[in-house]
Amino acid sequence: MTDPFDMEMPPRVEIGVLGWLKNNLFSPWYNALLTVVSLAFVIFVVRAILRWAFFSARWEVVTTNLKVFMIGRYPAAEAWRVIASLAIVVVLAGLSWAFRKAKDRPIRRWLVLAWIVSFPVIGILLRGFGEDNPFMPRVSAEVWSGLLLTLVLAIVGIAASFPIGVLMALGRRSRLPVIKILCTIYIETIRGVPLISVLFMSQLMLPLFLPPHIRLATVMRALVGITLFSAAYTAENVRGGMAAVPRGQYEAAQAVGLNKALMMILIVLPQALRNVIPAIVGQFTALFKDTTLVVIVGLLELLGIGKAVTGQRQFIGLHQEVYFFVAVLFFICCFLMSYGSRRLEKALGVGER
């Protein structure tokens, strides 16, 4: 009878670090070749990048223009208002996170109210009052630029396109033919054309169709374009989520006495949205990246300001440094967004129940 502690161990080269190396990188033989080639490639690329970053790149273009990147042409003296707005957002976000498990309705109601009110408050904070107001002189929306503008466009765009998208999704799923057809036409038309053309439409055509005495700021027109565009894609995502809600849920809601509106709000939409959180956050991330396109209609958000910076006399032609910096900023934000989406999914227990 063999002593159980007398077991034979597998050969040293199969287990532990050596084993992992062997299995994943070196066996069979063509894997080893692949590893060697890839390693050489990676080393070459990383060395080239590091060499550029540390020796030939002139990072002063970024460091001296940091403020420009952040708030663009917003007057430096009023920068405190931008910081105040940021503070409001951070505080609200912190409170929301702290109270996320709150059972009491009143606190959640106050928080929702606070968020809704924060939009016009920040709007006024950033825009200010008339010329002669000593405390908060007007900083017209035309002047907002840099990362500030990117965030304004993205956040307002997301907040506005979401409810419109949900309504469009409900409309497209409606059994009433007129509503269904009109919503479908809207969604399919927007999805079939590039964002550029929608932005162009909102820039040039929107004023054409308003009475001559109404003038909208460029930023507003761009916002309308971004919102309309994103709403169509959000609508499709929500519609997909709704299709995954079983018909029995609708019936149970009706059987228990809920009217159509309550059924949608309390039963169908919570389940539908939960189903498609990755897609919806993906759409928001795409919107965030798409704000760069307003460069083409003349607005200077982060990328546009970057391009303007490369025109500065002492920094002419330093495209590599500037665009690298802009790319890194975007990368960090988008990466955080997808990370947040995964955490959100886990918190809502998607796929568990």
Binding site: N24, L25, N31, L34, T35, S38, L39, F41, V42, R175, L176, P177, V178, I179, L182, T189, R191, G192, V193, P194, L195, I196, S197, F200, M201, L204, M205, L208, F209, L210, P211, P212, T285, K289, D290, T292, L293, V295, I296, L303, G306, K307, T310, H319, Q320, Y323, F324, V326, A327, F330, F331, C334, F335, S338
Partner: protein
Amino acid sequence: MRKSGPDSGRVPFWRDIRVLRVLAQFVFLIAVVALILWAISNYSQRGLIFSYSFLHKEASFDLAEGIEFKPTDTYARAFLVGVVNTIRVAVIGIVLATILGLFTGIARLSRNWLVSKIARVYIEIIRNTPLLVQLFFLYFAVILKLPKLSEAVVLPGPAFLSNRGIVAPWPRLTPVFRLWWPFLLLALVAAVVLIIIRRRTRARLGRPGIGAVWVLACLILIPLAGWLIVPGNPLWLDVPELIQKAGGVFKVEGGVILSSEFTALLVGLVIYTGAYIAEVVRAGLQSVAKGQTEAARAQGFTNGQIVRLIVLPQALRVIIPPLISQYLNLTKNSSLAIAIGFLDLYAVSQTMLNQSGRVVEVFFMIMGSYLAISLTISLIMNIVNKRMQIVER
């Protein structure tokens, strides 16, 4: 005797569910129509009229890139130039992006940890950075930083890489081509016939009967034979040459010129869309349950057969719809050409609009063109999808 309660008898119309349904649609329709009418009235109040007659007028601007165009040509022709440019970049972009995406997607699933990680890093970086930033980087920070024409990088070919783009050798037709193209047609017909025979035999016997090699042979050998038969060469290779002219000016003659704008746009679109296609391919391959490969291996199939006959057909069903969606995205993204100066259909339309002032008409042309492309691609997708549906109970 009935208890009294909510009415049981004629239903008041404001509570009748059928009436309400019709009423809701009516109100909606009226609202939309009213909006449109109001917009049109504002438009005409500014003294503007809607007409496409401007398309026949002279353009009076020049287009630096694309098919033949003179400033005396019409706006309509200018638009055509833009459309052709868009199609050029879209078609080549789709082909290259598919190849790149295919390899990257497979690499992502590789057993080799290093290869799969490299693919992952590439995909993450590209997907988390806006396309426009990537285009700006490629155009301003890479291509425009290439050496001047006089010191162009010489690639085998020879091809010249400079900050003005790429000049590469390109085949051109000779008069002899008229005698040769029937051979091309013959090769195509023969290949199609062979494919049909293969399909029929497969339906009868379960195996194609004639190797796929023969189809390839047709496509290659028949034109080759034709080349030997006709007097002279049907094609000649236009090789670019770097010439120094008077005054130290350098010029390239011959070959085909891929402008720096075109190159930047193409490379940018290919790299960007390639990353998304890689994810689509990866998801498709992973969707084929592992049990399939195991069952196949247990039956004695070789690796090649497993991939060809079992994994690929199932994976393709999952891959094709989102893949075509990516093709659509690439085509729409090509409109970013205007940001780096490439004259695609959108950029040309903008110029047309500025020159002629006909905003609404041009706008409809732009939307119409993109919608036409999208609908065509969607139609193709629906047909392909239907044909590939797995028959289920």
